[in-house]
Symmetry: C2
Subunit: 428 residues, 2 copies
């Protein structure tokens, strides 16, 4: 995998030119055995040349100067259609870009291409798309998780050092966990979702996938601070931080334990607390009512017109056509009430810790686990509570063996920079 | 009608004691030919004695010290049940009070009783309630408008100098207009709705009814500033203020013209602009989808249990039982989109001006106007757009003859204090 720090040093020193880096990146994107790449940005080499010319004039925009970035194919990028993993969308290239893309460009990043998504981001497996499933770099017969399937695979396979994703219930953290990369979902509402194809507007969050927490922190500094200062430098320790371990049965993963992570955090000086959240199943239970109503409102006309959705997507959306408004309103009320309860139960914690998913990567197309659970919800249930609460959360590769698993660090008193620091302690 | 300024001077100087004022008020509330009063606060005299004792010690809490205030029967007041104009609600007295009531009490106001509301605030006529219709002081065969029917009638009849109401689509401004008093709906979200029976949580706003803009300003200062400073003193003029007159056919009242008001504003130095809002019918069109879904979600179980709603309320709520979630979500999206459009069309205005209602007070029980329009929507259509946008708005009695009509002043660049100042220019 590619580290932004290494690349940034090489690019700034002249050891590697942006043109060379982008050409190498484009070659990797074109030779893509994982079906992670949807489109190459036609202007990438030209932009790399501009960034190189700036460096030659000693004009350095910051740590993303000349760095190749891939974006999930829900983001409008000028000159490329936004397909959203679907055959439903038009071929018309986007004419504008949202503020997140603009900010990356202003910071010197080179947008190199579009990466695969579960169709319309409406799924956690990453194997439902008009272009076919994305494959996990650790085992190409297995899913990447979704919906930011291409972003996670492209970072894990070393195509790009950094990718943008979106996270409505799981979609940055779950593929990050299953592909063994870092995935940051910021607090709801902090980054603009303008120019991003919506899934569900009261939950959608733009996020970042990267090889390591330092790379994610550099991206976060650029995205969250318009002036580009900061540069991802994290204060060193987490000594004295209050870490709440979510211990109810609900939060248990099938084949993975937090023990090793907790030991690392203790060793780094954190204080560990056991936190009980008896309300979490009720909270997570309203997720489907909210996301499906908002998604159906977006897709209703296309569905009625018989547009060519993937069968699973059409079936899931169609199933909620008649869902009543009161149920949606009641779900949003339950969400507010239980968010307040969750906040009260964790008020003294700096961060919370839980597995990111109940499962590691399953075979492509598999819909039930050996335990008989739906794969989709086993990849959703531990992440969606923090879209409902809106709190920032990050998935960092778990310190264990085998197929990747993720440890989720959720910000309570700490914000994004803080959870990046805690996550950094768990990096091998 | 009673002016807070006169009362406040008399109370502070000792010319009138809080006990005397409250006893007189209670006598008026008990002798209520308008059916405006629901309940008398049993502790009112005792509280008045406490306020009097403070004055005797030269402890003055501010301009509401010892002033009698009535509250719409949607507000919890300790010791009284919150009936919400319905036979559905329980007789159990409230055990707590929301911050708005607390703030009034801290400012020295004496809560003297509960005032009538259209059942569950779900109507603009004020003649649907388990206790029967409230009657307009200007003609007791006619409606007060609603839903804050008792608050408007009690102020107009001089029972109380000040009353709390709520405004979800019309419910402070419309009864204020039809009863000839001032009704202030603050910006959405500024005053807490805790301890207030909800109608629709994305629209509900606590508001104030008073005899004149100065009295409303005193109340606003108390409610909006926890420290109680301010005292309702308004800067003198409105010279140079940009006043946008909403001129589309949509904004026309049936038997009332803004011309006299516009002349008064011009004379006071305002600059008048004609504003076109071709999108307003579409904006107002989503009001019913939003309010009905949120209201039905609240009342669904009681309706299913066959609780004793007034027939009109049960019929209106029951009609939306199967309204689909996508329609509600789409309505909220239209609301956001057209609020942005409305804001852009009026960006250079300090205030907007329009009639408050299309009608003056109609006979109690009448559901269609002579023109064949529904009375309910003719009393709603000109006010609900500003619940959808969330902007502050005030209704002030129109400077004309006959049954009262209201002029609505809406805050764009100006906030509540500003629209109170503009409204003050229109007071005779």
């Amino acid at each position: 995998m590619l580290s932004v720090r290494d690349l940034s040093l090489a690019l700034r020193s002249g050891e590697l030119s942006p043109v060379e880096h982008v050409r190498e990146t484009l070659a990797r994107l074109r030779d893509d055995p994982l079906n992670a790449v949807v489109a190459i940005a036609p202007d990438a080499e030209r932009v790399a040349e501009e960034r190189a010319a700036e460096l030659a004039r000693h004009e350095w925009r910051g740590p993303l100067h000349g760095v190749a970035v891939g974006v999930k194919d829900l983001f409008d990028v000028v000159g490329l259609p936004t397909r959203a993993g679907s055959a439903v969308t038009a071929d018309t290239p986007a004419e504008g870009e949202g503020p997140v893309i603009t900010r990356l460009r202003e910071a010197g990043a080179v947008i190199v291409g579009k990466l695969a998504t579960h169709e319309f981001a409406y799924g956690t497996t990453g194997d439902v798309s008009a272009a076919g499933p994305t494959r996990n770099p650790h085992d190409p017969t297995r899913i990447t998780g979704g919906s930011s399937s291409g972003s996670a695979a492209a970072v894990a396979a070393g195509y790009v050092p950094l990718a943008l994703g979106t996270d409505t219930g799981a979609s940055v953290r779950t593929p990050a966990a299953l592909c063994g990369v870092v995935g940051l979902k910021p607090e709801f509402g902090v980054l603009s979702t303008e120019g991003v194809f919506p899934l569900a507007e009261t939950l959608d969050t733009v996020g970042v996938l990267a090889a390591d927490t330092h790379s994610a922190a550099v991206a976060w500094d650029v995205l969250s601070r318009p002036d580009g200062t900061g540069g991802g430098i994290q204060p060193p320790g987490i000594s004295g931080a209050h870490v709440g371990v979510l211990v109810d049965e609900y939060w248990h993963a099938h084949d993975f334990s937090l023990d090793a992570s907790i030991r690392l955090l203790e060793k780094a000086g954190a204080e560990i607390f056991e936190i009980r959240t008896p309300f979490v199943a009720e909270l997570a239970g309203v997720y489907a009512d909210i996301v499906s109503a908002e998604a159906y409102a977006t897709h209703r006309r296309w569905l009625a017109d018989g547009a060519p959705y993937q069968p699973e997507t059409a079936e899931r959306l169609g199933a909620v056509a008649d869902a009543p408004a009161w149920r949606y309103v009641a779900a949003q009320r339950t969400r507010r009430r239980l968010t307040a309860e969750f906040a009260a139960a964790t008020a003294d914690m700096d961060v919370l810790i839980a597995p990111t998913t109940r499962l590691r990567a399953t075979p492509i197309g598999e819909r039930r686990t050996p335990q008989g659970h739906p794969v989709r919800t086993d990849l959703l249930d531990l992440t969606c509570p923090f879209n409902l609460t809106g709190w920032p959360a990050i998935s960092v590769p778990a310190p264990d063996e085998g197929l990747p698993a993720g440890v989720q660090i959720v910000g309570r008193r700490l914000e994004e920079r803080g959870i990046l620091r805690v996550a950094g302690v768990l990096e091998r």
